[in-house]
């Protein structure tokens, strides 16, 4: 299991970390420390944590534009993740990736991807490599309901099924692709798409981390037994905006009643209800401290030297010509 996601309290604690991280990140977006904005994960924490609780440390994930939760759930250091969002040299990607491209290969995060659906075939390739090497690794690939309409994702489902690859397709159905309701954009559904390729699929309550975890354990175990891919559709909801630009431009596509209704099923409260109140308060305090340290670390970290703007462009070390001769 991913580093310390065993007990109900562990699951709560990690979700609390993600929630608090996102609240902190929102504050830093507003203060201008994080430029470009973020796609907050608030409300969807149970999906990332439930899935990663079923993964081993050596297992791999790919993530999405709304990826902070996946990265933290898989075990990245929140300080370095926050430093990445703030564009610092100490960030996970040395400030070269930002919110939508966080990667942390050391803990099995092959990268978040800003192109909807694009990570699925990359995950399939990682799973193919795992199958060939007999490493026993499983690869989980997250995508949204919007991703269900990307052709490349359907191609990826076909390849994974055809070659019985150890992939866990995780559809985070939060009801919207930006402003488009799932029902308006998706004919059929996630489970139907998977089943068309002979991939076992379930729809689960994405607000309950233990439900997600249990489904992910079944799927990951199948994959480890070389029985091929599986798909989990987690029904969830983002409590906040699609992107922080929504704080500037008012978009009306959902009602306050709908938001309030989903908020009554806050995944932190569902899991928080399973642990003692005193313990919950203690964990909350612990997380607050970790995040205070993350903020200190990120904001005190050096910004990259502009002279290094093309560093890492070529893994071979080739140096590209500059824009001015």
């Amino acid at each position: 299991m991913t580093d310390g996601l065993h007990t109900p309290a562990d699951l709560y604690r990690r979700m609390r970390l993600i929630r608090g991280f996102e609240e902190l990140a929102l504050r830093l977006v507003k203060s201008g420390e994080i430029v470009g904005g973020i796609h907050p994960y608030i409300g969807e924490e149970a999906v990332a944590v439930g899935v990663c609780a079923a993964l081993a440390d050596h297992d791999l994930i790919t993530s999405t534009h709304r990826g902070h939760g996946h990265v933290l759930a898989k075990g990245s250091d929140p300080s370095r993740m926050l430093a990445e969002l703030a564009g610092r040299e100490t960030g996970l990607n040395r400030g070269r990736g930002g919110s939508m491209h966080a990667a942390d290969v050391a803990v099995g995060i092959l990268g978040a991807n800003a192109i909807v659906g694009a990570a699925a075939p990359i995950a399939v390739g990682a799973a193919w490599a795992a199958q060939r090497s007999g490493s026993g690794k499983v690869v989980a690939t997250f995508f949204g309901d919007g991703g269900l309409n990307q052709g490349v994702l359907l191609e990826a489902l076909n390849l994974a099924a055809l070659w019985q690859l150890p992939v866990l397709f995780v559809c985070e159905n939060n009801g919207y692709a930006t402003t488009m309701p799932t029902a308006t954009g998706v004919a059929g559904n996630a489970v139907g798409r998977a089943e068309a390729f002979g991939i076992p699929a379930v729809t689960v309550d994405g607000m309950d981390v233990e439900v997600v975890r249990d489904a992910a354990v079944l799927a990951a175990d199948r994959a480890r037994r070389a029985e091929g891919p599986a798909l989990i559709e987690a029904m969830t909801y983002r409590f906040g905006p699609h992107h922080t630009m929504e704080f500037r431009i008012r978009l009306s596509y959902r009602t306050q009643e709908e938001i309030d209704e989903w908020r009554r099923r806050d995944p932190l409260d569902i899991q928080g209800g399973r642990i003692a109140a005193g313990q919950r308060a203690r964990l909350d305090a612990e997380i607050a401290e970790i995040l205070a340290e993350a903020e200190r670390f990120a904001l005190a970290s050096p910004r990259p030297d502009p002279a290094g703007a093309l560093d890492y462009l070529y893994a071979s070390g080739m140096v590209a010509r500059g824009g001015v001769a």
Binding site: R96, D104, N113, I115, P121, G125, V152, A315
Partner: protein, 321 residues
């Protein structure tokens, strides 16, 4: 000395690299049967785990190669049609190419994309006759266009061993070429290193792929009159600017023949850089496909818009005036 065909050279390179490095694998459509001849015999030698027939899902298997490369493999993809590079431009230009920088150097994506039969394949018309090497050079993906069997071998080997994505164009117009070779000539050719096919003192003609042979024919035709140096960068990107500076320093005149569309094509880049950084004694010329070229089907029409020998002769004469 034995005769080595261009196709056989690519086949040898693939076989040698599969043999040398267990991380190398080949993916593509109908490659088990060896449809383009590049992979002939490889399935029997290396088995279906390393020579993988893929379904018709170019976008997925292109990114699948990226994912496998992130996990230590060194995939080679064979595309059946040059325009499949348009279909997979997202996966190459926007995914594979960007991974190293975006991750701050955590990963590399050593994938090679080979396009046997790039450029005009006579009679295959609009959607099979593209030659988009300028496009990949533009986004900064390493781009190789070998002219001869020996270079095809050496450049493909280097592409496979390179730490970054590399596109290898094998022009349809060059694939009929044969070289006299002995085994010692089959060695890696470094990316970014030009080759002077014929030395000359009056005009430098820059060409890649099949057009190197056009340039050589023109140089021979004009031999009594004009001394043409045939300069083949071999890799369009990275380009060997130092070698070009040396050649142009000697000749002071430049013509580029380029199978790209004119606007923002490779020839334009060569002319611009020479204008900025080198010294010419006459205005340079380029011979290219027209703007926006879509190769028409009828042979007369197809040939009418490909850069060719007569246009090159005229351009060389013009810069000599």
């Amino acid at each position: 000395m034995t005769k080595l065909s261009y196709t056989k050279a690519l086949n040898r390179a693939l076989g040698d690299e599969l043999e040398r490095d267990p991380a190398v694998c080949v993916l593509g459509e109908d490659i088990g049967a060896g449809i383009a001849q590049l992979t002939l015999g490889l399935l029997d030698r290396f088995g279906p785990d390393r020579v993988v027939d893929t379904p018709l899902s170019e976008q997925a298997f292109t990114s699948m190669a990226t994912g496998a490369a992130l996990c230590g493999l060194r995939p080679v993809i064979e595309f059946q049609i040059p325009s499949l590079l348009f279909l997979t431009f997202e996966q190459i230009a926007n995914q594979a190419h960007k991974m190293s920088l975006m991750t701050g150097g955590q990963v590399s994506v050593p994938v090679t994309y080979v396009v046997p039969g790039s450029g005009s394949r006579e009679g295959w018309a609009g959607q099979h006759s593209d030659h988009p090497y300028s496009l990949f050079a533009h986004v900064g993906v390493k781009t190789v266009v070998p002219a001869t069997p020996v270079d095809a071998y050496g450049l493909l080997v280097s592409a496979i061993r390179d730490a970054d994505p590399v596109v290898v164009f094998a022009p349809a117009g060059a694939m009929g070429i044969r070289d006299d070779v002995d085994a010692s000539m089959l060695a890696p050719v470094p990316l970014g290193q030009a080759r002077i096919h014929r030395a000359g003192s009056d005009v430098t003609v820059v060409a890649v792929g099949h057009l190197v042979h056009t340039a050589l024919a023109v140089a021979a035709e004009l031999a009594g009159e004009i001394s043409v140096e045939v300069f083949d960068p071999r890799t369009v990107y990275p380009f060997d600017w130092a070698a070009l500076a040396e050649s142009v320093g000697k000749t002071g005149r430049l013509v580029v023949i380029d199978d790209s569309n004119r606007t923002c094509g490779f020839a334009g880049e060569v002319l611009a850089t020479v204008a900025e950084e080198m010294r010419l004694i006459a205005p340079p010329k380029r011979v290219t496909r027209p703007d926006g070229a879509v190769l028409p089907f009828a042979l007369e029409l197809d040939r009418a818009i490909q850069p060719g020998r007569e246009q090159l002769v005229a351009a060389v004469r013009t810069v000599m005036k």
